[in-house]
């Protein structure tokens, strides 16, 4: 097509964009490419159902895994045992009494339920975020706790500031005029992407710390030392077998694989084979950590639903169900009667 005038407006948008790119210098086109990659990574058009159903599963899982925790025991301790973290000193963190913590944890549980069913979702998610921050920080003021709860705080904050109630929520029925989903939109893409980032960075950060603290040696020896405890109750024959596995190749391979898997965790952000391989491997690793070492990382599984394209899955399942139904009809009424 000749350029300019009426003919130019007839060009397809991608052709026009290519023409514009041709007019740019190499540096400008490089930056344009970076900008486009950045935007397509952080703002992928996503169905509201993906975010809404992810929110539902997230809060349900957090409630199931952490809802029965009693934080009130931390509110009743002598203040001499409290040693505030630097940020707690900065904000003059108040240590509430056991009775107040009891009230706060009941509000927290209620906010998780509301977040799950999507009722007053923004407020519920924000309250859940602030109270998770407060209640877990309270424990950290007295002693160390498993880090499994920290990603939940970030995820709750993201759900509070995003449009996570536009689908699969009571709010979407109550405030239908305000919360009308517009189909696939980046508004639902960035929150899911950000929560996925929190999940993978948890592993990546863990791997980097291991490398800083112990170097590559961690992969070769750390698991051996952790698993050594199994020798305690083993029979002499079993001890010989355990020792062989601990001190030879198998445990070193497992150790190095763990380290590499944690380093490779960000690959799970990319749909397709990297996610299909890395995400289940991370889940299996966390389950093994829980079984072997008793470290409670299961609450972080609540972030996994945000990796799954639920609306696409729903369409596939609906198609399958239709074809099964049609197949069933054909078998039943195949003779034309």
């Amino acid at each position: 097509l000749p350029s300019g005038g009426k003919a130019d407006s007839l060009k397809a948008p991608e052709l026009r964009a290519r023409d514009r790119t041709r007019a740019l210098s190499p540096v400008q086109s490089f930056w344009l490419g970076v900008q486009r990659a950045w935007e397509s990574f952080w703002y992928p058009p996503t169905q509201p159902f993906d975010l809404g159903f992810g929110r539902f599963l997230f809060f349900a899982w957090v409630l199931y895994t952490t809802g029965r925790r009693d934080f009130a025991i931390w509110g009743d301790l002598p203040i001499e045992l409290f040693y505030p973290l630097p940020f707690m000193r900065l904000i003059n963190y108040p240590v509430a009494s056991a009775a107040t913590v009891e009230i706060l944890q009941n509000i927290w549980r209620l906010s998780l339920i509301f977040g799950c069913i999507g009722f007053l979702t923004r407020i519920s998610a924000l309250v859940a975020c602030l109270l998770t921050l407060y209640l877990w920080t309270l424990m950290y003021g007295f002693s160390q706790e498993a880090h499994g709860s920290i990603p939940l705080i970030f995820a709750m904050f993201v759900l509070a500031v995003s449009r996570s109630a536009d689908s699969f929520s009571i709010d979407s029925f109550l405030f239908r005029s305000r919360r009308k989903p517009t189909g696939a939109s980046p508004n639902y893409g960035w929150p899911t992407r950000l929560i996925c980032c929190v999940y993978v960075l948890m592993f990546f950060g863990s791997a980097v710390t291991k490398l800083i603290n112990s170097g590559i040696e961690w992969g070769l020896y750390a698991l051996t030392n952790i698993f050594y405890q199994f020798r305690f109750r083993a029979s002499p024959r079993a001890v010989a077998i355990i020792d062989f596995f601990l001190n030879h190749l198998p445990m070193k391979v497992v150790g190095m694989s763990t380290l590499l898997l944690e380093l490779a965790a960000p690959l799970a952000l990319f749909p397709g084979w990297p996610r299909v391989i890395v995400l289940p491997a991370l889940i299996i690793m966390q389950l093994m950590i829980f079984e072997v070492m008793g470290l409670e990382f299961r609450p972080t599984f609540g972030l996994i639903p945000f990796f799954i394209p639920w609306s696409a899955l729903r369409q596939v399942l609906a198609r399958k169900a239709r074809s099964w139904r049609d197949g069933f009809r054909e078998v039943r009424f195949g003779d034309g009667r």
């Binding site: 025991i73 931390w74 301790l77 002598p78 203040i79 001499e80 045992l81 409290f82 040693y83 973290l85 630097p86 940020f87 707690m88 921050l133 877990w136 920080t137 950290y140 007295f142 002693s143 160390q144 498993a146 880090h147 920290i150 705080i153 970030f154 948890m202 950060g205 863990s206 980097v208 710390t209 291991k210 800083i212 603290n213 112990s214 040696e217 961690w218 020896y221 750390a222 030392n225 952790i226 050594y228 405890q229 020798r231 305690f232 001890v239 070492m293 470290l295």
Partner: protein, 152 residues
């Protein structure tokens, strides 16, 4: 990223220190023992408090952490890297533990039969290794770190 680079804890941003340091079970290792002091017939007797239900919610692991074990043992690379460990720190923690123990003791037992603690001691104990043996493992070194006495 800042927390990772500085190896510090800016909670909830953290450098995830757990199990990042390789501790060899076949080499000497240190741990903390907390002993309570009870007075019987004018004599002081030591009572091991690690794992005592009266110190709940401080199980043996949490008890060590609240006393800054990770910071002192791993040279500030673990949880509690922000802690400033001093004699005052230990005194405050031991005073708190003593209060907690005596309070829980009163709650759980008959007031006439309980023997409250009059003091509390923190020991650093070193074992040659963690390998299984028929006899209980004996410490190779014991060091008194701090002591707190009631009414002092």
């Amino acid at each position: 990223l800042t927390a990772l680079a500085l190896q510090k804890e800016f909670w909830p941003f953290s450098h995830f220190p757990m199990y990042s340091v390789t501790v060899d079970y076949r080499k000497p290792f240190k741990t903390y023992y907390v002993y309570g002091l009870i007075e019987k017939n004018g004599n002081l007797t030591e009572l091991l408090l690690n794992g005592s239900p009266q110190l709940g919610p401080f199980n043996p692991g949490k008890l060590k952490q609240t006393l800054g074990y990770a910071k002192t043992t791993y040279g500030g690379r673990m949880w509690g890297s922000y802690m400033e460990i001093s004699d005052e720190f230990y005194q405050s923690k031991l005073r708190g533990l003593l209060k907690l123990y005596n309070r829980n003791l009163k709650k759980s037992a008959d007031l006439n039969t309980v023997t409250p603690l009059v003091g509390i001691r923190l020991y650093e104990v070193e074992f040659p290794d963690k390998l299984p043996r028929p006899a209980p493992l004996q410490p190779s070194k014991v060091r008194l770190i701090a002591e707190w006495r009631e009414g002092r």
